[in-house]
Subunit: 188 residues, 2 copies
Amino acid sequence: MTMTTDTGHRNGVDTATLFATLDAVKAMPAAAQFQFRAHNEWQTGTHSRTTISDYFGVGEEREHEHVFTFDADHPAVLVGRDNGPTPVEFVLHALAACLTAGLANIAAARGVTLTEVRSTVTGDIDLNGILGLQPVRNGYQQVSVRFVVAGDASEDVLRSIVEQSRQRSAVYDVITNGVPVDIEVEVA
Amino acid sequence: MTMTTDTGHRNGVDTATLFATLDAVKAMPAAAQFQFRAHNEWQTGTHSRTTISDYFGVGEEREHEHVFTFDADHPAVLVGRDNGPTPVEFVLHALAACLTAGLANIAAARGVTLTEVRSTVTGDIDLNGILGLQPVRNGYQQVSVRFVVAGDASEDVLRSIVEQSRQRSAVYDVITNGVPVDIEVEVA
């Protein structure tokens, strides 16, 4: 397998731009203040649809290049119609994607070329919680990530890149440490 | 607007099946043990793709009716190519979808017909954390949910349905209270 190893674009990461971005934020820390947003509309039953498009960052309102739309639902066994994954499955996707993006960036910054990154994220949940039937928590009791990683570095180096990604992952932080959530309601 | 208010399918929720499911789980609590899963494969740069299909629940391996596939990426301003939302945006989607599904179920169980449920979820994040430039957390510092709800009940009742959904939301629990995450790495 021939890998692209020019320093400009290792792992598909524009490392020159990555380092330039780090320097720019170092010089102007306020540029790193972001607000992300999701707009959801109930369809029927447990089915809802989210649109993701606008966000704030680097000092101004921005839009993704596309408007992204996602459906969530429950499967029939959870009294839904399976129009999309369950909300809790999207949390697992978010974790896998965050750790994987970090891996590619960190490997590129360290001059390591990756050839494969796969992961399976599992979440164990006792739905007696959300059903209000037993005094157990509503959410996952345990989440596990299993990575398969290959690249042109030793096993120790590849493991240290995964570890650094964990230490710098936004979603890992949210899931392991929690975040305050406030809810406001307008009755129309 | 004419609303379907037969007790069998209020809000698109099959309430008879909902109550039957509650009774079935009451009689066999182990049926509520679920494991959800996401399978992710790195594409290039910060772009990865997740497949969601298999899960375990009600005592056996199951499959969603469709295989769901989602891309995540960073926008150009975060040195990606905007092939999908960022991982942290999917967390906001998961929260909106979870609270909204709960709202529809709880309203149906209480005999309330909803005509509208919309929400915007925002997450404030200081990316100096993931960039390793300042001693701030990697994840969101604050998440806020703004609901607009309409239905055939008083404002107090509609607010109490949102509150009950919050109290029984799996994703709200994960995000506010955190979950242990373990990571294993196989070097291929």
